[in-house]
Amino acid sequence: MAKKTTHSIAERDARTQHKIVELAKDISKMTLSGREPQLSIPTRTKSNTLWNRKKGILEMGDGTADRPLFDLKTAKQFMQTMLHASTIKDLIEARKTSSLRGVFYKAKHTVAGTKENTFDTQDESDPILEDLEVALGALREELHVFAENRGSMVGNITIVDKGDEIDCRRMGSGGYALPSIVEPDVIQFKKCEAKFILHVEKGTVWNRFNEDRFWEKHNCILTHGAGQPPRGCRRLLQRLNQELGLPIICVLDSDPWGHYIYSVIKQGSISLAFESTRLAIPEAKFLGIRAKDFRQCGLDDAVKIDLTENDIKRAREIAAYPWFEGHKGWQKEIQAMLTNGFKMEVESLITKDISYVTEVYVPERLKAKDWLD
């Protein structure tokens, strides 16, 4: 089994390697034949994102954008793309993997004869890598690049991570840190008793649930994604959902940002639409916080946070997403928030009682199946 994996990895690497060489050869052909070199990169924009109603996920269209070298707007990105391509080829050749940050540092230097950096920040570097993924049709792990661990998991499940068995009931206060690459060749599910997954937005809320041993009482898995969940977290949730049939219940803030996170978990995001089939969980549910909770839970005025103009704008945009547009529940939810004129964080429930959220709020809602989906 292990041998076969190594073999397939070598094959996979050879494939990726080949794609990179082809890309570079195209450029050199154009250059030497006197044509202006340009890259063609599938566009990761809203206009090139399609809503697959049937599958309930976002998909990338087949629109591409030219990235010519001899254009001031794209010259630098052209160079950056080629630098990263070369870095990745080296990584694969050396059979090493690197973090996003590592790739950034590897390619960052001053352009010969100037004081200009090839890359100034990692924020400039990461999207170029994503461009390469789509241009080459190779996933991040195939490029030997990984992101930092982000998000945690505890609960009634035992997994194997690179051969190490991990019992997620025995993870102390920190939980199992979610790696960025969670594909079956890295992580396998060994034994699972949990009946569902409770996904919360932030580490602080997750800590509350973990401290109250919510997962034990309710036989579930407890995860968070440190805000907008990264690819590793989303992929793991999807695998748990698809392979083990566990429902995903989200507890997020009652604000446009929370709604957006839910939307990303459920149907995928625009910039990673090409990965939706691996990431989106169409049947994820939104349990709270709901706009009605201020009244229903009898919360204090102090928990209100005024909606900013930007919030209102974002809320309207989200309401117009095709997957929310025809959804009565969501239209009502967003409208209720706008009518309230304020947002609320999950932590606002603490004003009732420190463990109100874990002992009353979530159990009651679960029991009543009071959620949006």
């Binding site: 050199s28 030497l32 001031l72 070369s86 080296d90 100037t114 004081k115 200009e116």
Partner: protein, 719 residues
């Protein structure tokens, strides 16, 4: 009522008509102008000195041109009170102006120099500098009033003959000359002048000063006067510099006084005096303090012809007077009168005119009654006539305008345009304009306007002048210059306007400003717009060149990295990839190359500057506010602009030769010879003479001439 007025009359003890009559008498023009000398430009000592120089130099140039002699003129100012205290506001000077003109016959000398309103130019319609018959006698009168000294005239009308030496003073009561000395001498030009200073001695030893060969005939006028010599705006120096610009066919030698008045309160009204430094004529030589404005071209301006008045240009009263005059001298027919005394009246037109006046072709001019004359006058207004002939005008011409500006102003761009002749009040005139832009000109000051009328610089009353108004009314913003509302455009620009006419309508006798006729102002604006458009085109092009240069910079920065990366992946030769990419980058930004060829010059298109009226001196290019304004936010910029280059700095060039020093540091040929204007491409000078004259240690012999770096018309680039 009566009682009241009677008592008033008694109390006031008024003069009777008879009493008044005893006091009523002729006022001589001389008396009038002696009292009102400011009307003639003698308002203060500094301006008086300038005006005297101007009147004499104008006359000399006029006389030479009329006699078809290439002018050679010397202006000498001797300080007669060199020991005066530093606080003295003025001093006594002896001004001498000598020309190689035709001279003056003996019997005219008293009339010319001793009478106001006596001259040869007033009654005719022909372009000349003088027109009133006041100029030189007024200067003499001013000298007489302020110093009591007579004018000294040496004039030699015959090449082989003697010179007349005459000293005369004007009697202002009678407006007639009183001659005190009158003899014949051989001494012309007066030998005394050659020995004035070490400089004049050295120059005349080489034959460059008042040589008898150059002055075979001519006139020398000396006036002693109270004046003040100080350089700067509105100075004798500026006048001569500008005269040289507008008269490149003249050679002018200037011996300034030994001492310059220090600046004081009086000087402050001439604020900005030193600002003219930027436009100092640089094509001059100096020997021991003697300044020479060399001849730029050897041909005289085209000869002008006197014309008859145009029917549309006269007034009814003038017509009546002309009819009377004709009867008195010719006793001819109206038909002949019309053809002889007017221009553009053919026999057919004359017949039509006779008919309109209710006369036949045989009717005598003297028999035309006032009502008939009025009908005739009316018909003049209605009839279609060709405009007056224009061979009475001698415009400077585009080529010479450019030559003049090029040697006078250190700029990067020059444009000139010469309009075709037009008519105001039946008088032909022609407007020419030129501009110099960029280079060493001050970038933030308002534009400098230099005005000329019949090749004479106008130094005062700028805001009253039609040319100034035309500059204000021109929309310079259209040509990418800044222009605050109702003001001069701001920026490194000199604007030159010239009006050539048989009669320049001055606002006053001192001939300082051109009267504001709509026809004239319109032509001026059109000429300025032509120049402006050329400038606008150039500025756009220059901005584009810079942008393209920047683009190439961006591309060149990145292609090295790209070549390396591709080569690392494919294993191909990085150098080969780089070269191919580099070739593409060059092709993509070809516009930036337009200034990068052999000598860093753009030479293409027309060879003849007259066609295009534009000269570009790429070495003088500097970044200006205009560029910044133009390559502002709307211009394409790379995502992250490197801090390696200051804005406005020149784009890096492909060739090492391009790293020449910035334009400001470039010297200009100080000693460009007249031949500098010859069509020969100049090589770059090996030595770099300082741009400023060094009068402190005057060399005896002119320093060796560096090869002129700015030549014309081939040297500077045209587009």
């Amino acid at each position: 009522m009566d009682a009241v007025s009677e008592t008033t009359a008694k109390r006031r003890k008024g003069a009777t008509a008879e009493e008044l009559a005893t006091r009523q008498r002729d006022i001589s023009v001389s008396e009038f102008f002696a009292k009102n000398r400011h009307l003639l430009g003698f308002d203060n000592p500094r301006k008086a000195l300038l005006t005297a120089v101007k009147e004499a130099v104008d006359n000399s140039l006029d006389a030479c041109e009329e006699a078809s002699i290439v002018p050679e003129i010397a202006v000498i100012i001797e300080d007669l009170q060199p020991e005066r205290p530093a606080s003295a506001k003025s001093s006594r000077y002896r001004l001498t102006v000598i020309d190689n003109g035709p001279g003056i016959v003996r019997k005219q000398v008293e009339n010319i120099f001793g009478r106001l309103l006596y001259g040869s130019k007033f009654h005719r319609l022909k372009m000349s500098r003088g027109q009133q018959g006041i100029g030189i006698s007024a200067a003499g009168m001013y000298g007489l009033i302020t110093t009591g000294r007579p004018m000294v005239i040496h004039t030699k009308p015959k090449a082989g003959g003697p010179a007349h030496h005459i000293e005369l003073a004007m009697n202002t009561k009678t407006n007639r000359a009183e001659v005190t000395t009158d003899d014949e001498v051989k001494d012309f030009p007066p030998a005394r002048l050659a020995g004035l200073s070490s400089g004049t001695k050295a120059l005349s030893a080489e034959g460059g000063f008042l040589s008898t060969e150059a002055f075979r005939t001519g006139t020398s006028v000396s006036i002693e006067l109270e004046g003040r010599y100080q350089r700067g705006r509105g100075s004798v120096d500026e006048f001569l510099e500008l005269t040289a610009i507008a008269n490149p066919h003249a050679r002018i030698t200037f011996v300034p006084p030994s001492r310059e008045s220090s600046e004081d309160d009086e000087g402050s009204i001439l604020a900005g005096a030193e600002a003219s430094a930027a436009t100092r004529a640089t094509a001059t030589t100096e020997t021991g303090g003697v300044v020479i404005y060399p001849r730029g071209v050897h041909e005289l301006p085209p000869e002008t012809r006197e014309i008859q008045p145009h029917p549309k240009g006269i007034e009814l009263g003038i017509l009546l007077q002309m009819l009377k005059d004709y009867e008195a001298t010719e006793k001819g027919s109206l038909f002949k009168f019309l053809q002889e005394r007017f221009c553009r009246v053919s026999s057919a037109t004359a017949a039509q005119m006779c008919k309109a006046a209710g006369a036949t072709s045989r009717t005598r001019a003297g028999d035309i009654e006032a009502p008939q004359a009025e009908k005739l006058f009316q018909f003049f207004q209605e009839v279609r006539l060709p405009p007056p002939p224009t061979d009475c005008l001698a415009p400077i011409g585009v080529r010479q305008l450019l030559a003049g500006l090029l040697k006078g102003v250190r700029a990067e761009f020059y444009a000139a345009s010469s309009r075709s002749a037009e008519v105001y009040r039946g008088r032909p005139f022609q407007i020419e304009a030129a501009i110099a832009f960029g280079g060493d000109l001050p970038a933030d000051d308002p534009a400098r306007v230099i005005r000329f009328a019949n090749r004479v610089p106008l130094l005062f009353q700028q805001s009253a002048c039609s040319s100034f108004k035309a500059v204000l009314e021109t929309g310079w913003k259209n040509y990418n210059l800044q222009q605050p509302r109702g003001s001069l455009p701001a920026g490194p620009i000199v604007i030159m306007l010239h009006m050539a006419s048989v009669w320049v309508p001055f606002t006053s006798e001192s001939k300082e400003a051109i009267a504001d006729y709509d026809e004239i102002r319109k032509e001026m604006k059109l000429a300025l717009m032509e120049c402006g458009r050329k400038l606008g085109t150039y500025l756009n092009k220059r901005a584009k060149m810079r942008r393209e240069g920047e683009r190439r910079d961006v591309f060149e920065r990145y292609i090295g990295e790209i070549a390396k990366a591709v080569s690392a992946i494919t294993g191909e030769d990085a150098k080969r990839l780089y070269d191919a990419l580099h070739a593409q980058a060059k092709r993509k930004t070809a516009v930036a190359d337009q200034q990068l060829d052999e000598d860093g010059r753009v030479v293409r298109g027309q060879e003849d500057p007259d066609d295009d009226g534009v000269i570009i001196v790429p070495e003088a290019m500097t970044g200006g506010p205009v560029d910044e304004a133009m390559s502002g936010p709307q211009s394409e910029a790379p995502g992250r602009r490197p801090a390696t280059r200051a804005p406005g700095e020149r784009p890096a060039r492909a060739k090492p030769a391009a790293s020449s020093p910035p334009a400001k540091a470039l010297p200009r040929a100080k000693h460009a010879s007249p031949k500098a204007a010859s069509p020969k491409r100049a090589s770059k000078p090996a030595s770099k003479p300082s741009g400023k004259p060094a009068p402190a240690a005057p060399p005896k012999v002119p320093p060796p001439r560096p090869a002129p770096r700015r030549t014309f018309p081939d040297g500077p680039t045209l587009f």
